[in-house]
Symmetry: D2
Subunit: 332 residues, 4 copies
């Protein structure tokens, strides 16, 4: 747990404004057994699996996005996966005192790979991905070949192929509080969070999620051992983890879309189609954040981000696409 830059967190918004002061010292375990049935929608109708207090730590056993069904490179996704029962989520975790208009702060501290080797799975699913006709970008072309890759992972590397070894850069693909009344399938990101597939959302950063129902109802799943910008083939190196996170509550911080804080930048996150609209949302939310919390004039922020804003493309394969817009903390 030493490899991630968690030290800065003591200066974070979470520590400064969190009801739990960023840490309560209490740790909960949400094992596969304790979780029981996983969830395929993120909403207010499912039964909670854990009740915690602001600042508590949770160690959660996540399963991979295919619920472990793709065990070998000979498996066919079309045989073993069934829409909409994909991308299973742990939770919902209820946070004491969380109400509509608040924020849950989720500090991912550590993500350890879990399970037998090869632990990682990447695949091409028919009519899914950035460079293929899809369910929503409907074409008549023959599909791409179904392909499953099983990949060895340790806590330093992802052994992609004989030729290429990638660094282990874990993050959570899907993280969210519940919408107020919608129950949204776990494949779709939106203003609640959801399947954002944003590589920044890993150990050493804090995600801020809008609370829209009592307790917040935190869902988590879809861990990636690494992922490129855009997640173009539709999947990352999907794997099971033991993820350690601290969850705090910030009262009365009403945000419209998820936000993220790292040691050296803050980021606002938007998810919609087309992709430029996701980027518009992210940048407008970032400007609003700079205006409200950092005293910027709106037009100064707009023009300045035109000179120094940074964009992370999360995914452009999910039912909605995700973009993060960031600004360095040294300008705040």
């Amino acid at each position: 747990m030493r490899s991630y830059p968690n030290a800065w967190v003591k200066n974070s918004i979470m520590y400064r404004r969190g009801v739990g002061g960023g840490s309560s010292g209490v740790t909960h375990e949400l094992t596969e057994a304790k979780q029981g049935a996983l969830h395929y929608t993120i909403g207010p109708y499912s039964k909670p699996t854990l009740y915690i207090k602001p600042g508590d730590r949770v160690v959660v056993e996540t399963v991979d996005a295919f619920e472990g069904r793709l065990k070998s490179e000979r498996d066919l996704p079309s045989k073993l996966l069934r829409v909409p029962f994909l991308n299973p989520q742990c939770g919902p975790i209820m946070v004491e005192g969380a109400e509509k208009g608040d924020v849950l702060a989720v500090h991912i501290e550590h993500m350890a790979p879990r399970g037998d080797q090869p632990r990682g799975t990447c695949c091409m699913i028919q009519e899914f991905g950035a460079l293929t006709g899809t369910y929503y970008t409907a074409t008549l072309n023959p599909p791409l070949p179904e392909t499953v890759r099983k990949i060895k992972i340790d806590d330093k590397h992802v052994y992609w192929s004989e030729r290429v070894t990638l660094p282990y850069k874990p993050h959570i693909g899907t993280l969210s509080c519940s919408p107020e009344i919608d129950s949204i399938n776990s494949l779709t990101p939106d203003n609640h969070g959801g399947n954002m597939d944003l590589p920044d959302m890993g150990p050493g950063t804090i995600t801020y999620l809008p609370v829209r129902s009592p307790g917040g109802r935190l869902f988590i799943g879809d861990a990636h051992a690494c992922q490129g910008d855009g997640e173009i083939c539709g999947t990352a190196v999907e794997y099971a983890t033991t993820t350690t996170m601290t969850v705090d509550l910030i009262k009365g911080w009403t945000i419209e879309w998820p936000r993220l804080e790292a040691d050296d930048f803050i980021m606002a996150i938007g998810s919609t189609r087309p992709l430029e609209d996701a980027a518009r949302i992210a940048y407008r939310e970032l400007i609003r954040w700079m205006v409200k919390d950092y005293g910027y004039d709106q037009w100064d922020a707009y023009m300045m981000l035109s000179q120094c804003g940074k964009v992370r493309l999360g995914n452009f394969v999910d039912p909605k696409y995700t973009v993060g817009a960031a600004v360095s903390k040294k300008y705040l």
Copy 2:
């Protein structure tokens, strides 16, 4: 009820394939009182309000999309409307024998205006509409002015202004079965149907909806006394109705997106963003329909629709946009 071309229905797919033969002779009433609480999501979690058999007729009292809150032209939508509690739906209506993989056929027979004059309401809501920055197409521009129009309606005309009287062309804006596990806010159309805002979906046509949960769970609401292509200011002439419809069940007709049949054309319907993708879905589904049920070769259908396909733009203001693609029955 004589003004709508319902006679052709005896030759429809609904009559030929429906379990109830397109008509059972039984009529149910779903009054406001019987409905009780209205629904703002379309999903599998709400309590049914009516149980019917295939071929039964239902007379339903719909309320307008604003639940009647906009009573005068001095009212402000921002004061009286609250997201996500918009576009209230009647139902769900359970149809005996309906299971995943089937289709509900909904023949709208008649729509009568209901309530005091001026019955109709049209308004401009801030950050909503085709020609304004919106929640999803985020801009920093000042908003358009909030404006409410109250409009007199009778069963022949919509009295838009001193200058302009429009014909009464009623249709249902939101119609759907429930998704399998999602519970989707009633503002958003998708493959279940939902807020399609398609002017063809009125008296004299039949809508075919995919069943994805037991009983189908039919929701209906959002009546329009008339609507232009695209519903550009974000709202139609919204009004309360007494809507008469026959609901039948077609077993084993598995469709991916809603479809519509009129006396002289068939139409497939797609809803997503960007708009071209909605059109792609609609045309691909229409081709699949022509191939499966009318013996067309796929490429012949594709090339022929390039010569004679007709497109209806439903809306491009909702969270997803809706397009219908149609072909004349004389070519089938």
Copy 3:
């Protein structure tokens, strides 16, 4: 020439405001021989082929979009067509007195099929069309099959197949004045007009084109014997014609995008991507037209078109997509 509704034209904007009063009585012929080399870009750099006065009639021999290269159903587009030498244009025709800030009015009077049977050609070109990955919507899927259809045409019908005979509904696919400084390939529509592929642009309607360079520089080509909304396979029934048109000049009518007038409606035309933005342009221009020339209040026009606006989808296959937004003349 009796089959088209040209009588209304005497009440048109062209007749009322045209320098030539809608008709001068003079007729010019622009034969294939007189035209000589055809043009593949629309711009200010090409040599004029004809000089006319406002109100003159021009009878022009257009060639098909493939310049006649696809002669049989065994031909392969990939062998015989070469980007960017596609969609050849006749002209430019110089109109006396036309200057930047004016409008050319083009009344298509008649379009007669020309050449040997089968005169019409429709084809599927690889990576081109609405339901396939394309040059701009890049995918890795295998392409659709190249297919050429040769179709018999007379002045009443298009003999599509043994099963289907379509009505002859001729129109011009590409019509434009020159941009001010750009020279744009003839496949791309934009604010100058160009490859709009709008089925309304045929005998009996008048197109209004913004003049941006001296003489206007009118280009014309790409005739279709019929076309469905969207032109989904990428091509219509392409054919050679003898097209008769009257070209008039309206001084000081400065418009930003092409417009169209029919006996019973006026239409504004937008071309861009994504498709919703083409529709936005078209509707905004229509509103501006109603405000400026018909005394409408902007918000009244916006809200009213939300009730009675009509949309024609021209194409969503070209490098930019084209939408026409129309309103009935009875509301003006």
Copy 4:
């Protein structure tokens, strides 16, 4: 000139494959005086200003995107700027031996600020930018305020405001060979290059441009002292420079879209709307590059980039949007 990482260039594709071996030792000057009239379109019709041999160095004096018209913060863009006479370009520079099917390699070596202080200009232009309705995303909202910022620049910093000093990160906003027959306004990027606004295109990297007409016809302009991802307010810190570049010729390397090489990555560049399609183009071209020149299997490249691909958002404000997709050289 020591601050840029130019040393790696000796291992670049340009050095290995260039006709001039990446350097000829000959230097040309293209001063403002020698250039004379600037160009507002990029095409085959303009008169060359310089003839060079492969490997020659050119020192070019670029002017800012506003041609120096915005001299003070009291100036109004709407008064002083006139579409389409924006973003003036130097050139065209003719490279001996360049023919359709080749590539021009442009190694930007150095960019020095030029002119009086404050040299830099950033502004908000009405109906232009990412967070406003625009010419192509037409809305009825009131416009954003016109605003001009004049900014002091030296060769280390951009003095944005009293609060914020940004690093000097110069790059060329617009760089291209001519299209084959189109003459495209200098505001629009496409497969020829053009107004890409990609921050990577500065000192220390090499851009590869497809040659489509004899001599290549290289255009350059639109220097930025720094720019954020997306250039959201529509403009960067625009300024005049003395730019030093080496231009080489690679025979028989036929590429469809511009490419870029840095010390540690290669990048393919796509420009279109909507934004996801620009990203699709960029990634597909990158895969094609990896397959052709680095021996990758197509599906391996696709799936691997899903794990390690990097995306740079150039702009989403120009008539077409620009995305670069990159992969680290260590995986090649």
